[in-house]
Symmetry: C2
Subunit: 323 residues, 2 copies
């Protein structure tokens, strides 16, 4: 991710890091140690960055006003990752030891809850409209629904694009949509701008998750910094696989693999080969392009040029990212 | 728990059950099934009942206004129990199968998060003062801190009452304090009444948790509806044990047991015997009495007689409860 992409908010991103550490501080050493470990472990900070950029489009922009929102979005994201890592038994995340590896599942579960609580406390302290609090709460409920539904439909040879799209909307796109929409909202954008920002966040989020699902099938563990073909092994059927199940002559063979709860490494390799040779990856890449076109077309015409340039760079970054 | 105790709010308690089910409803069947299972599994509803009773003391009492608060407190409590059950690997709770037993750890973790989110959404939708949202968020952060600290100090032969009291304040008393204080607050009690209600909730909460810790040592699994001597086995040192570690001639023997991470059933029985014979249980019971006296003395003089009578019955119930 190039630095230029976030040029208009480079000062705010420094304040964000401070704000994140302050938001989890406690008078208990062990709490500080746990919370700062997970917050420091970093990541792309995509959600807060999108909310900060969107805020720049508003006539009442104030870093002081929007930063707590940006901090709380990153805290919520970090909390969900801490819980995901317990569920997946993941050992590393973003190159650092996960909470469950370093301190055990108990601390990882409670630590995630602590981050959720501090995120809400942060938002509650501001004088945001109740809409902001409500939208963030419902976002988390939707994230959980998305994950539960994904688990519930594991190892099913899904052939319905809409089920997949609804799932990744819940899981990823809603979050980016909330970041862009609320960032603008708290800074006083117009109704039209708010809707444009919302649609931009949604489309970027859809493109981001489809790309993630492509990379899961294309890349090695080393390249990803997390286990490769993780979805496939867990029976989570993603867009390239759904296309192949619908369109390929070898759909039957693929269906037999994805519905098998005891997938061997050999089966995994064969499934990836079938998907690639059947054009599943290419199809998913064309869908990413479509979402990114939507995203570019959704950027409100009235926002400042430097913010527009950043948004276009975000779209380019998602189109070309490889990690 | 006798019905008369909650006589002034018996209609509200019926509405509470409806409100709880509505608050977790979803257009996805599996989410409804999971969330309604855990909500229906019931419990004492002590937190919402205390908030409803306290609300009755306010000049602006409205069931419609306070019920969402009561619902959200019970959702938060239920969420923390769902996560505790994952941590403890508990199979049953309140006589029903836990989420982790019925659907696995993933669903139990995400289900807990979902309940937290819906609790916040419920509060966010109301026109409560920001103080309410903030107090509830901080409550959850404190609950997590309390649990993390408890885990961190497991298998330590603690001799400091204050460390124990701070822990049970975080873990239990803060929650009951928030229930009574905010119940009154949203119904427009006076500042003095609010403070009295807060102190009543705190003292009741301390008495409740010390009683819980006594029962853990006194009762069988059958009587409790959950594993007996659970704290002891997990190395969680509670008030009767701390007293014994400080005062008994057999403190050394007890310390050797509680600091042993591989406690046998025989060691467990011996520890309980030492605590009982050294007067640890009696001391803890005298502390419960002290907290209940505080509680009774904290009830604001200006609240309605039927609410006062209920509060006094709550205190009596805690003094005499055996489950």
């Amino acid at each position: 991710m190039s630095k230029a992409m976030f040029e208009p908010i480079k000062e705010e991103l420094k304040l964000l890091e401070e704000g994140l550490l302050n938001s989890v501080s406690s008078d208990k050493d062990i709490i500080n140690e746990i919370a700062s470990h997970v917050v420091r472990a970093g990541g792309k900070r995509l959600r807060p960055a999108l909310s900060l950029l969107s805020a720049k489009a508003g006539k009442n922009y104030s870093a002081k006003k929007v930063l707590p929102l940006a901090v709380s979005l990153e805290l919520i994201h970090t909390a969900t990752l801490a819980h995901d890592d317990v569920i997946d038994g993941a050992g590393t995340r973003r190159g650092a030891a996960t909470l469950n590896t370093k301190w055990g599942n108990q601390i990882a579960i409670l630590g995630g809850d602590f981050l959720f609580a501090r995120a809400f406390a942060m938002v509650a302290k501001q004088n945001y409209a109740p809409y902001v609090n409500y939208r963030i709460s419902e976002l988390i409920a939707n994230l959980c629904e998305g994950e539960i539904l994904q688990d519930h439909s594991a190892h099913v040879a899904l052939k319905d694009y809409n089920v997949y799209y609804e799932r990744i909307k819940n899981k990823t796109a809603d979050f980016l949509e909330v970041a862009t929409e609320l960032g603008g909202f708290v800074s006083g954008v117009t109704k039209e701008e708010q809707e444009g920002l919302r649609r931009f966040g949604h489309a970027i989020g859809m493109a981001f998750q489809v790309t993630d699902d492509i990379l899961d099938l294309e890349k090695t563990e080393e390249e990803l910094g997390k286990p490769a073909a993780h979805d496939l092994v867990c029976g989570i059927v993603t867009l390239p696989v759904i296309y192949t199940l619908k369109e390929s002559k070898r759909a039957g063979e693929l269906a037999a693999i994805v519905t098998d709860e005891h997938m061997t490494l050999e089966m995994e390799d064969r499934a990836i080969e079938i998907v690639r040779e059947s054009g599943g990856i290419d199809f998913a890449k064309s869908e990413v392009k479509r979402f990114l076109d939507d995203a570019r077309n959704s950027i409100p015409a009235t926002i400042p040029n430097d913010v527009r340039d950043s948004f276009l760079m975000v779209a380019d970054f998602i189109a070309s990212r490889s990690f």
